[in-house]
Every structure is written in structure tokens, then in C-alpha cells.
Amino acid sequence: MIHLSRITPIALLLAASLAASGLAQANPNAETVAAAIQAKPFAQTRVALQISDGSAEKQTLVLNVAHNLLKFYGPDKVDLEIVAFGPGLRLLFKGNANTQRIQELAAAGVRFSACDNTIAAMAKQLGHPPELNPIARIVPAGIVRMVELNKAGFFVARP
């Protein structure tokens, strides 16, 4: 058994934890759509996937769809970009439960775009910008990026 005075070290640990929450590190801006297309000259199929829902099921689904597209067409033959905005930006938070899958898809050439408008809105609520997965690239507005990708010939889907 132990007396309440022994709780003090735990309280100190807790206090230390509150001070230890990390600071956001800025992610680089995404390349333009034209530059992205040039970087994948052999792609015969171009797909933009929208994630604007924060649920675990939607996150899993959009990653599954990306995986299936890569598997069907082959990494060199398909150009894939996942655009996250609104609650969907949680997918690109640092430490997300799907981080390993995101890294694997990025290694296969999938781009991950994060909406700057959403980041700003979340920063207001959080008191600081959300920490993002270093793989994420910033776009001014998620929906505008989707429009631009569509104009450039990307098939747009929201799984």
C-alpha cells in the first residue's frame, strides 16, 4: 500500500508531459500539378483521391483504394495523389495509426497533399498548427487542388 504523498512523482511526470508536447514542423509546399505530371511521364492513368472524413473506416478505405490502383496498374503506370482536407486531414497527422501504410504508399510514388486552409482552421482550435506527417505536402486549398487535378486530366474519386 502507499500513501497519497507518493503520488507527487506521478504529478511531476504529468506536468512534464504537458510541457513536452512537440512543436509543429512546417511541411514543404506541394509542387504544381504540371510539375507533378512531368515527374510521372509514363503514367497512363492519373487518379486524385479525396479524403475529407476523419473516421478510421474512411482512412482505411482511401489507403486501400490507393493500394489497389497501384497493384492493378503498376506504380510506374499510375499517377496517384491523395488530397486531405477538412476532418480528413487527420490522416496526415504525425503519428496517425496508418503512418506505416502511408510511408509504403509514398515509397511507391503516391503523393499526399494537405490543405492549408484546413491547417489554419485547425490551428485556431488547437492553439498551434497540427503536426503533420513529413511526407505531406501543403496545397493552398484541398478542393482547389482537386479541381486543378481534374482539369489536368486526373480521374477524381472520393472513396
Binding site: M1, I2, H3, L4, R6, I7, P9, I10, L13, L14, A16, S17, L18, A20, S21, G54, S55, A56, Q59, P87, R90, L91, F93, G95, N96, A97, N98, Q100, M122, Q125, L126, P130
Partner: protein, 436 residues
């Protein structure tokens, strides 16, 4: 002296905790591999604001024990009312909500669960009446790398059988050692010892306060760390030591310590059925106040170790545990529970998931020695040995039906006690578990 020793142990553990936090801060865990993590945390950045969940367990049990001189003791009757030898019942019906209240911040999550079933938590029997009960209400703060903090009412870190989620528990009844030595009862002044009774309407139940249900109100520091294919988990907790009752009844706090190391056969797998080989050890220590004489206090200690293996089609689990103080003497004996006796016991069980079918076969042996070494007096040594054979049919991942048959062989060195225990016999149990 004893207090100083406990304090030193706690300080050493705290130092170890801090060391672990420092060593493993940069090594995130898979986060969904063990009971502490499954119950105390949520997946990062995709947990729901409020996920409704729960489970229902309609059950039928039939006891084949014989009476002695026309009268019965609780092991021969069906709980929690202990009136008769066969009964349908809704043993558990729980509904709860869990998630993260502010989804943008994955560093805070909560867990709340209520019990509407009819069991030792909700039904006080002779000295109480059925009433739903809050079984869990906790908040976890995940701000310190390597040292998550969970506060509130929740399952304390301890033996596997008590800590594991019921949805994953392959049997209907707990082992004798878990039921008697770990599942704590809390007598209330005015509840008296009850002699064996005839049926029907034996009305043996003697505890108006809810059973502990392996839960306590307190604060726990915990986390898990991946090192290659190994996942190490620790927990240190301080609690009231008053079960599910919201506040404490004495100034001493219970100390709980836990460590497990699991080898993960598949690191990408998640959830309660993740293939792994886990070794674990735990320790609990606290003080209890005598309900009938509040000037007296008694130490209560429990500790144990075990191993579990799960890689379909096989599952094997074994635990051994020891207890000292507050040794439960049976549901009809609330006034004899304040004691400094010793007890020990364990179990080994195995399961076989028949490939390409929905069937699971289970076999368990458990043994428990109560009041070890006491050969005379009102609370003599008694032994409880049980073989349980069971079968589960899994309709789907969330729904199963379980059929168990337990062969029990109980005895005591004291003839009047043995007269009742020797006729404790088979127990048939049928249960549907539906998780939602």
C-alpha cells in the same frame, strides 16, 4: 516497516518507469496489442468522437451437485441470486461509449461502460436489489512519451483472466482461483454469515456492495514499446482498493504493478486476437478495513505470473498466482473474510480452432488451495480442482455460442466443510455472446 518497504518498491518502479520513458520515447508501439493498450488508448488520429459499443451474454446454467443433509452452499447454486440449481440469466449486458472527445487532439481519449446484466456487480441478492452500475469511466492523457496516464474507474493491471476483455474470454465461468482469490467482494456491516439452505429460494447471497470486477478507481501510468518483434508493456497504478465503489473507505492506497513482454508473430495484426507469445507478471498490495470493526485493518496482497500463446489454430494460456490476506471464504461467509490467511492457485488452458470451420474446442484445468496450511478452526484449508471442457461456435467475428461443462472436485481438511464440498459436482453452462 512494511509501509516503508512498499514505498521503496514503488519508488524503484517509478524510477524504472521514467527510465523506460526516456529509453523508448523514440520507439512508438503498435498501439493495439494488449489489454492495457486496447482498453486504455485509441488509435492515433482516427478514433471516433464517440463510438457506441457493448455486448450481451444471455446464459443458461445447470448445477448437478448434490445437497448435504438436504441443504446447499453457494458453489452448488447458480449466481448471482443463489436460489436454485438451474437458471436462465442475462449475466452481462453492457453498453458504453469510447473515443476522443476532441478529434484534433489524439492525446486525450476516454472510456465509459455501464453494466445492465444480472451479476455480482448489479445484484446484491439477500442484502440488496438489482440496479445497473457504472463499470468503467476513465480518461487517458497521452502527453508524456512513454508514460501515458489513465485516471478514473477501470480494470487494474493484473492477472490475464481478469484483465482480458470478456468478448475474448473463451469460457463462461472464471477459474476457481480467479473467482475466489482475485474477484474481490466487499462486505458491509450488517451482512451476517448464512448457514447452508434448502432450495428453492436458498437466498444465499451476502454482499450488497458490488463485486470488484477486477476494477479500481485510481491513476495508472503505462505504455508499451516495440523493440523488433517484441512488444514490452508496463503499468504502475495507485487506486482506492475499493473495487467499483467510487470513493475510498480508508486512507491507504493500493499499489498495482505490471509488466509483459510479447513476441509478435505478425506485427501488422491488431486487436485482441493478434498472434503472439506473451509473458507477464503482476503485483498488487493494499489494506482493507474490517467492515464489522472499522478500527482494524488487514493487508491484502496478490501476485502472479503467466504466459499466453495464440497463433491459430492453437491457443495456450497458463497462470500461477498467490494471495495473502482477505482470503474469500465463500459467498455465505462475509464475516470471515477479514483474515491473514494464504492461498494459491493457477490454471492451464488450451484452445483449438478447427481449420476452415467456425468451431473452437477448449479445455481448461484449474486448481486453487484456500487457507493454505491451516488445518484447524473455522477457516480450514480447502482445495478446489476443476476440469472444464468447452466448445465455441463462431457465427461471425462478433457473435458466438459457448457450451461448457465443468467437472469439479472440492475438498477440505475440516469435516463439516468437507461434507458440503465433497458433493460439488458438474456444472453445465450455455451462453451466447453478441458484441456490437
Amino acid at each position: 516497516m512494511q509501509l516503508q518497504k512498499s514505498n521503496k518498491k514503488f519508488q524503484r518502479y517509478l524510477a524504472l518507469t521514467t527510465l523506460c520513458a526516456g529509453l523508448f520515447a523514440a520507439m512508438p508501439s503498435a498501439h493495439a496489442a494488449n489489454w492495457l493498450m486496447l482498453q486504455g488508448t485509441e488509435p492515433a488520429d482516427n478514433a471516433a468522437r464517440a463510438k457506441v459499443w457493448g455486448f450481451i451474454q444471455p446464459t443458461y446454467q445447470k448445477d448437478f451437485s448434490d445437497a448435504f443433509a438436504g441443504k446447499y452452499v453457494p458453489p452448488k447454486l447458480i449466481g448471482p441470486s443463489l436460489d436454485s440449481q438451474s437458471s436462465f440469466n442475462i449475466i452481462r449486458a453492457r453498453i458504453g461509449v469510447r473515443g476522443t472527445g476532441f478529434p484534433l487532439d489524439n492525446k486525450v481519449n476516454y472510456f465509459i461502460l455501464t453494466e445492465f446484466g444480472n451479476n455480482a456487480i448489479t445484484n446484491g441478492g439477500k442484502y440488496g436489489s438489482y440496479k445497473p452500475y457504472l463499470s468503467d469511466a476513465s480518461v487517458t492523457l497521452n502527453y508524456i512519451p512513454g508514460a501515458r496516464v489513465r485516471m478514473g474507474l477501470f480494470k487494474y493491471p493484473g492477472a490475464e483472466e481478469g484483465l482480458q476483455g470478456i468478448a475474448a474470454f473463451p469460457y463462461i465461468n472464471y477459474t476457481g482461483v480467479t473467482n475466489q482469490m482475485l474477484l474481490e467482494r466487499f462486505p458491509t456491516n450488517g451482512e451476517v454469515n448464512i448457514k447452508p439452505q434448502p432450495v428453492p429460494n436458498a437466498d444465499m447471497n451476502a454482499f450488497s456492495a458490488p463485486a470488484g470486477a477486477f476494477r479500481d478507481v485510481g491513476v495508472q501510468v503505462f505504455d508499451s514499446f516495440d523493440v523488433g518483434n517484441w512488444e514490452h508493456t508496463y503499468a504502475a497504478m495507485l487506486g482506492n482498493g475499493h473495487g467499483m465503489q467510487m470513493t475510498d473507505n480508508n486512507s491507504s492506497k493500493d499499489l498495482y504493478l505490471y509488466w509483459s513482454s510479447a513476441y509478435l508473430f505478425d506485427k501488422s495484426a491488431k486487436g485482441p486476437f493478434r498472434p503472439s507469445l506473451k509473458m507477464f507478471t503482476w503485483y498488487q498490495s493494499g489494506k482493507r478495513t474490517d467492515a464489522y470493526n472499522t478500527t482494524q485493518e488487514q493487508e491484502r496482497k496478490r501476485y502472479g505470473a503467466g504466459i499466453s500463446y495464440l497463433k491459430k489454430p492453437f491457443r495456450v494460456t497458463a497462470e500461477y498466482m498467490v494471495g495473502k490476506g482477505m482470503i474469500f471464504q465463500g459467498q455465505q461467509n462475509p464475516q470471515t473474510m477479514f483474515n491473514d490467511n494464504k492461498a494459491a492457485g493457477g490454471y492451464i488452458e488450451g484452445g483449438y480452432f478447427i481449420p476452415n470451420t467456425k468451431w473452437e474446442l477448449d479445455l481448461r484445468y484449474d486448481t486453487y488451495k484456500r487457507n493454505k496450511g491451516i488445518m484447524t478452526g473455522a477457516t480450514p484449508e480447502a482445495k478446489f480442482n476443476t476440469w472444464t471442457a468447452g466448445v465455441n461456435y463462431h457465427f461471425n467475428k462478433k457473435t458466438r455460442v459457448t457450451l461448457d461443462y465443468a467437472i469439479r472436485k472440492d475438498s477440505s481438511v475440516f469435516t463439516p466443510v468437507n461434507n458440503q464440498l465433497k458433493d460439488v459436482k458438474g456444472l453445465l453452462a450455455l451462453q451466447v455472446t453478441a458484441v456490437f
